[in-house]
Assembly symmetry: C2
Homo-oligomer: 255 residues x 2
């Protein structure tokens, strides 16, 4: 879809990710909703689960074993965070609608094998903003597994023919070994940069920054979809991203 943007908001931005119990950051959620409301255009939003997902996923060992109670409790918890995000967007005037991955996606060994895109397409065509989230999802090999927002974003962008992707994280972009933002990454430069790229600052069952970058480089290389990794905890940066301004780290195809 021409002009479609897929924006990920990390769980670290909208929750206190260091908390061992679900703790949302209401002010950040409200600010993000207002920034999104201020820029028009086709948008799909994906948010991380943060402290609404990872502690429960660890508690029930969802990456290692099949646990019905763990599935239900984790899903309910991340849905409650999703409701907060959708509510804030609605109050800001964004026509947001929730989409829950457990209902529409199937994994195989932790990777998306099948996902229903037809409702998403119809939502975007009607001017709605689908709001997805990291979730516990059925897995044909493991029973159930974690589907991270980081995996959802490239998948959705590719299937929907998005123009560009934003990854709103809590750091200024992809940092080098002197903590300086790497402004540009392309398929031909990523191998050289790999040693500098560190993991997430908190334990994260879904993998850290290197995982993000690898998926986005692949997407740029194969489908020409560019991405920008930026600091979404800085007020105004989501607005800047949506307006297409330079900021953070851009990942794109080699020229």
């Amino acid at each position: 879809m021409n002009g479609l943007v897929v924006l990920k908001i990390g769980g670290s931005i909208i929750t206190d990710k260091s908390s061992s119990t679900p703790k949302s950051l209401a002010d950040a959620i409200e600010r993000i909703a207002q920034e999104i409301a201020g820029v028009s255009g086709s948008l799909i939003l994906v948010h991380g689960a943060g402290s609404f997902g990872h502690p429960l996923a660890r508690q029930f060992k969802l990456t290692e074993q099949f646990d019905v109670q763990g599935i239900i409790e984790t899903h309910r918890s991340v849905k409650s965070l999703n409701t907060m995000v959708v509510d804030a967007l609605t109050l800001s005037g964004v026509p947001a609608v929730p989409v829950h991955p457990l209902s529409c996606a199937l994994l195989e060994q932790g990777r998306i094998r099948d996902m229903q895109m037809a409702p998403l397409r119809e939502m975007v065509q009607r001017g709605l903003v689908p709001v997805l989230h990291g979730d516990v999802v059925m897995d044909s090999a493991r029973g159930a597994a974690i589907l991270s927002g980081d995996q959802l974003v490239p998948y959705i962008a590719q299937k929907m023919g998005a123009e560009r992707i934003g990854i709103g994280s809590n750091i200024d972009g992809v940092l080098d070994n002197q903590s300086k933002t790497i402004p540009d990454i392309t398929p031909s430069t990523v191998d050289r940069l790999r040693v500098y790229i560190s993991g997430s600052s908190h334990t994260d069952v879904t993998g850290g920054m290197l995982g993000k970058v690898q998926e986005l480089v692949e997407l740029a290389d194969k489908f020409g979809i560019s991405s920008r990794i930026f600091n979404a905890s800085t007020p105004g940066n989501i607005t800047r991203f949506l307006k297409g301004e330079t900021m953070g780290t851009r990942i794109q195809k080699d020229k």
Copy 2:
């Protein structure tokens, strides 16, 4: 799937359908959960929206116009009823997981055009009980429309290769013009019976008993899946249905 049962519990059983605001019937929900917990076997549950859906759908004229606020509010309301049902099942020991149609189905002129079945299949294979519900869903022709539990049940049964269907309503089965239950309906007898079959006792945006019967007759005729329409407000009847006992109205293929 061999032996799979798809059971619909009408909105009139688990909510006060005459109420203009959402009103659940907690005792009925708990009893139903316990009856389901008492009989083992592969099961998919679909419940109606009752007063959690129909009054909102009417208020926002969802069958006539596209209304974002109406979509969000109606979806949220039916999801809250779904949470109550899943909670009661969980407490009774049933491994229930929620599945929300807005996330996984697309309609065209009010009929299901596309629905994601892969997660449902995986859930049933892993011994889980998916719990779906009547919902507001995207429609490629109308923007959004109501997907009733009555439409979901035959669709799911056919796609999943179910063995049989139960329609738990608040009447004793399909009634004739003397309010007596018609014990058997087949494709060859349905036309003769049509004049006796009345609509739902309350206004219902999704169509009444005749609509139910027509869909089930078609399913028996085309796919050999039998159905039973029975009174689910009578304690013990869900147990009887799940055990395969004779009761209510059976709809099946001509011999």
